[in-house]
Symmetry: C2
Subunit: 334 residues, 2 copies
DNA sequence: TGAAAAACAGCAATCGATTGCAGTTGCGAG
DNA sequence: CTCGCAACTGCAATCGATTGCTGTTTTTCA
């Protein structure tokens, strides 16, 4: 692959001049610039970013750390990240991590590649992510708490509050809640919100109707739904902390002959594609992952530009989508 | 950030020795190696891959070109790609392309970063992808035809054949077919298979029941379903060339009071999550994107090792999943 | 036309590693 | 004690760009 030296030799011009001619806003005569560009084109010259980065000591690479398997969550974030990164002139090096030792490996790679910054969007919650980075490389965390580090998070507390109040407004008092993994950022914020709302309204949650699961999968919702609806006493509404499990709950309800929302109302959280595809269409609150991804890159680039800027914790607001999965407690559709 | 020179200076050992001590299988005394490693650890030395790559003239980077938006297709491929890349010691640089000029930009980047190889998995069909690469950098295409280049494709023809024959076996003769975008690799292979099977069985397809759409979206299926089932003469089976549209067809059928599979049988293609989530669960044929992604990396790495290897075109086989969305033509469930 | 200023081109050092070759050290055997 | 060989270490060049400084050419204007 050809280099500026090839051009330099063929044109009998020094490498420095070639280098300057190839970049705009530099002091070279139009004539020389044109000759150089023509020759570069002719021999198929491609700049070597590796060499450049070594010299100028900065890279155009942003490390993106996501879950092992691409899923709706990581994909949506990655979309936002990509869009913003491109807009701001960066490229993305991805690493799908399978656990915390793997996160460490990812950081080693990002360090070794001298990434300009790192975005951590894996849902594993490490206690103390910062040390991984060797302190040198700016980073932003998505959906993690980290005092000393830039973060962008959704307003899960507010979202879950809206959802819970919506159900209460419809007259529901026998409400079951399905929680996700206990160490998840989302579970914590959302569960807290639900508890706070219930307390504020003086509604008590039955212990056996607050059910925790170790993952967010559809099957969990189905299984919980079967258990919940199989009893003689059943809730009039189910608040699932995510859409996938809500989908499962809906399946269970229908399988047991319950009408949704006539016999039981269901709300989810996230505005996953599933929410729209479910029948009835699921009432839910969006998790604005796209904008979170974009925002993360923006924060990161700001910090790259000014490493001493004060730490920022941005909260991105989603919005509620009232669809067809809820009714007044008596069964009156809304 | 510290370098081997820092270690060299502090330990009063030459940089070359430090370099050797840091890598296994090199001739340095155990004592020196240990001192170097300790010091490296102590000062938090991180190897600079950029410098290394410049020197040894090879990189650990694989470029991955996918669709603009992450979707089920690109995510599944990326999963396989990631897994295999990690296993083989490569990292992934991703680019989400929005069109063919953008693909060119992606290739420029991969070139500039001196990627060891490139995997193209975007569904846009460029007529002649090869020239983009400047001929220097090995590449593998997923789901594209390209004679002169390594490719990995699914056996869509066989898959669609199975699906079509399955419907015929169940006695269906009034079959509607929904096609995806005309320039898609998948549409072409699958549509051809369906036509060939029909011809072989002496069954004719009504022209107005072979319906083409410009994308693979759920809504298209819904809309087609409404049209199809709204007429007095309606097909007894619908063969959708993908699962998402099949999902839409199912919605339309139910909305119009038709029972699936009692009144109409539906098959999809891809084994998207949707296929399993649909009610009834959708009969379909898997598109083995994961394995395709892995295979692509394997082929790529082989070629990186031996640039003159003959071109390979690998076909990855999926499997059929018979679930609950089809019945015998009379309505007898299967 | 000539002098000063501006524009342009080139030298050489540099980024952080790797590696062939040469020089040095250490060890064992005679 | 000395020689020979193996093991180890260091020198210096190299990868492909960038850039401060210096030197040269061109332009401008009196």
């Amino acid at each position: 692959m050809s280099t500026i030296y090839d051009i330099s030799r063929r044109l009998n011009i020094s490498p420095s001049t070639v280098s300057r001619a190839l970049r705009p806003n530099t002091q070279v005569s139009a004539k020389v610039r044109e000759r150089v560009k023509d020759e570069a084109e002719r021999i198929g010259y491609r700049p070597n970013l590796i060499a450049k980065q070594l010299k100028v000591q900065k890279s155009n690479l942003l490390g993106l750390l996501v879950d092992e398997k691409w899923n709706w969550f990581s994909s949506s974030i990655a979309d936002g990240v990509q869009a913003a990164a491109r807009r701001l002139g960066y490229s993305i090096l991805v690493w799908n991590s399978v656990g915390s030792t793997d996160e460490r490996a990812a950081m080693e790679l990002f360090c070794a590649m001298r990434a300009a910054g790192v975005i951590v969007a894996s849902t594993e919650m490490l206690d103390d992510p910062k040390p991984l980075l060797g302190q040198e490389i700016p980073s932003v965390y998505i959906c993690r708490v980290a005092e000393e580090c830039d973060t962008v998070v959704p307003d899960d507390y507010h979202a879950a509050t809206c959802l819970a109040e919506y159900l209460l407004d419809l007259g529901h008092r026998d409400i079951a809640v399905i929680l996700g993994p206990p160490n998840s950022f989302h579970t914590r914020a959302r569960a807290q919100a639900v508890r706070d709302v219930m307390r504020a309204w003086g509604v008590s949650l039955r212990d056996d109707w607050v059910i925790q699961r170790q993952s967010w999968r559809v099957e969990n919702g189905y299984e919980v739904g079967m258990k919940l609806f199989g009893c003689s006493e059943r809730p009039t509404a189910v608040l699932s902390l995510n859409d996938a499990m809500a989908y499962g709950v809906n399946d269970a309800a229908r399988e047991l002959g319950l009408r949704v929302p006539g016999d039981v109302s269901i709300v989810g959280h996230d505005d996953h594609d599933m929410a729209f595809l479910m029948r009835p269409r699921l009432t839910t609150f969006s998790l604005p992952l796209n904008r979170m991804g974009e925002r993360a890159v923006e924060l990161l680039v700001e910090r790259i530009g000014d490493p001493d800027r004060t730490v920022r914790h941005d909260t991105i607001l989603g919005e509620m989508f009232v669809r067809d999965s809820c009714a007044h407690v008596g069964g009156r559709s809304v």
